[in-house]
Point group: C2
């Protein structure tokens, strides 16, 4: 499994973390991959935090990581706007991390909603009615809509919570305008950002993630090797109903199992 | 207006044509631009016809055109899939022109909806309930959704008719899944395709179109010169309500007015 692999893309939620807890020995798995000299990228659909915030979180858990290894949907959205719309002004509906990431890429933030060329939507866990109304104003004055990702719900302490699709739904329904671009996994924008950073050809890249819909799908579509972990979204009972086109190359209980795989090859 | 311009992007519906009729002397305007040695691209959000179909239509009207000068939203969608998703299989909901364009770019068409990685939606003027159901099946089996453009209505002989947003709405509402990418104007994908073809820097490129929302907006956002014609979507009465950020560089009654502009410079 690991012999031919030069670089590894690691998903965060459900693969490294379960809610706010580290998945047992996930840190050791990363250290093990480092010891083998594998290049690593941490890729997540979180659009409401910045690279810096994510870096500090990973450091808190003593995970071996460099800042530039972290590629979030906020990162890819900011880079996309910087490259393809260098003149645009942006209004955001989302937590502060998104704005921080846009500013890191020198994307201009509109001072008023009316000025905005784009409304960028991500998860906003402290959203108020006023925030929603300002975003609505932006679109009413012609802003086009982009979303960092399009997850409907995410698990929190009380079961499921509304994810970004809640914010998107409110704006689309009230303005009659549609999101024109969603950047998160499984999009080619995330895949290409990771492959570009890792400087690896897809067949020599392994993606490890918990989601058939995003991680495995993105890996398969771009010709990477894929490993599904069962510590997140996908449970054993779901495996029987998978279509052939959805199957990962490997199914492992947790990310730490890659150590076992590595050892088997050595012996 | 024309002196510093090396290349011209010309919109079709509302600029060259009104419904199925040529706008008076639009053909002469094109011939005039040719006589000045300007490079030309015809750019349209039509996603349900192919480059070949459009070429034959323009030839029928004796417009001076080369096939490769025609860039439709079907063209750009096909090129996008070819470049970014070389391994994908596609199901379509739309008129035959879309499939023809996908095949020209060697995008693989799924034999059954269940096989599809993407459902590509465009206007489908002969759509049946069965077509809609097959597209629904594709998404139920995991296909992601892409749309060539996102116009709500278009003018036909009987007033307004349902455009692609009708097809998108049916699929989104029944599957609970969202379109993740819309490729037509004013997207950067259309702008970059045209600029790449024309080999021109944006300030030396003039876009002529009838829509503030798509043509003028795309031109402005990418740093081109912009000319609005009043033969299509936008009427004189709309001009007063335009925001500063929406204003074109020039407003002309019809595309033939560029001849007048050109002559003024010569004199």
């Amino acid at each position: 499994m690991l012999q031919e692999i030069e670089a590894v893309i690691i998903d965060l939620d459900g693969t490294m973390f379960k809610g706010k807890r580290l998945i047992p020995k996930a840190d050791d798995a990363v250290a093990y991959l480092r010891s083998l000299g594998k290049r690593i990228a941490f890729v997540s659909n979180r659009g409401n935090i910045s690279q810096r915030m994510c870096y500090e979180w990973l450091k808190k858990w003593r995970i071996s990581v460099r800042k530039e290894e972290i590629i979030l949907s906020s990162t890819v959205t900011a880079e996309f706007l910087y490259v393809h719309y260098p003149f645009c002004k942006v209004w955001t509906l989302g937590d502060d991390g998104l704005q921080e990431e846009l500013q890191r890429y020198h994307v201009r933030l509109a001072k008023k909603p009316e000025e905005a060329d784009f409304l960028v939507i991500t998860l906003h866990e402290r959203m108020t009615y006023d925030d929603l109304n300002l975003a609505f104003q932006a679109v009413q004055h012609g802003a086009r809509i982009i979303a960092t990702h399009a997850d409907k719900t995410f698990p929190n302490e009380n079961g499921n919570a509304i994810d970004v699709v809640g914010m998107i739904g409110a704006i689309e329904a009230t303005t009659g305008r549609k999101v024109e671009l969603i950047l998160g996994k499984p999009s080619c924008f995330m895949a290409e950002a990771a492959l570009r950073y890792l400087q690896v050809s897809p067949p020599k890249c392994l993606i490890i993630g918990d989601s058939i819909e995003t991680d495995i799908r993105m890996g398969r579509m771009h010709g990477m090797k894929t490993a599904l972990v069962l510590t997140g979204n996908t449970k054993k009972k779901h495996l029987d109903s998978l279509l052939e086109k959805e199957l990962p190359d490997y199914i492992i209980d947790s990310i730490y199992d890659i150590v076992r795989f590595g050892e088997e090859i050595v012996q």
